[in-house]
Symmetry: C2
Subunit: 153 residues, 2 copies
């Protein structure tokens, strides 16, 4: 199949479409918790990671939520300042510190989770249950493949 006459239709270009969709969804979600709780996207993600997997070190948080260590460090600093999380230095390796939600953080987390799941639920109304599974499977495979390509290049 010769590629002589290639035309880029931006509106049908997969990377572009994924980017626009993800951005719209991410902003919509952010609207739900930004104003009432004063959290940035990165701060909320750190809280969500700790809400589910605590205790975690900062680098473990970063691995979980695909965020580099500088971003994690800054989000953690902001959350610490508001006493939403707690930090305990590891006595065996004092470079590490394990993080967990504070009582205050757990309470805020517990109020945000239903908002987030509610939004996801509304979003999913666009799809049938089978379609949801299909979408998730396709996204998984795309993601895995994109990671492979990235390493190869």
């Amino acid at each position: 199949m010769p590629n002589a006459l290639q035309a880029l239709e931006l509106e049908n270009f997969l990377p572009y479409r994924l980017s626009v969709l993800a951005q719209l969804v991410s902003e919509s979600l952010h609207d739900l918790y930004a104003e009432p709780f004063g959290l940035s996207v990165t701060q909320w993600r750190v809280m969500a990671a700790l809400g589910r997997f605590a205790p975690l070190t900062a680098s473990e948080v970063g691995q979980r939520i695909v965020m580099d260590k500088v971003a994690v460090s800054r989000a953690v600093a902001g959350l610490m300042k508001r006493d939403l999380i707690e930090r305990a230095t590891d006595l065996n390796d004092r470079r590490r510190a394990s993080l967990r939600l504070s009582a205050k953080g757990r309470s805020m987390h517990a109020r945000i989770v239903p908002l987030a799941l509610g939004y996801e639920g509304e979003l999913y109304q666009a799809l049938s249950p089978e379609e949801r599974e299909t979408l998730n499977g396709l996204c998984d495979r795309l993601f895995a493949h994109a990671k492979l390509l990235r390493k190869a290049a």
Copy 2:
């Protein structure tokens, strides 16, 4: 269906998954044209829009590629400085200016398009032709629905 015991599994949370996937794909693509051509994501998108639909005014570009007018203005300034696009003030309404690729811009565009389509092609290798169509359809519907939700809220 009562929602008493909700847990947020970040790794299965649709907004999060879309965000991580889109980010990975977008960065991979950016790697292809950033270094050789010195373009930012926004600059490349403006060029792609003009490559396909020129002439466009700055606000039309913004509508096409879902980018606010400040971002478009800055991308256009950068592209003008490098003579990759041309601007012609509308004589009937001198607030407007129509934009199009310059010869130099068209030449760069023509070299980037195959790279972009090539990457999309590699990405699509993860899916069968039917699955590609399915994914695109599902994304379309999700996007339309997410826009509705945003307006409603």
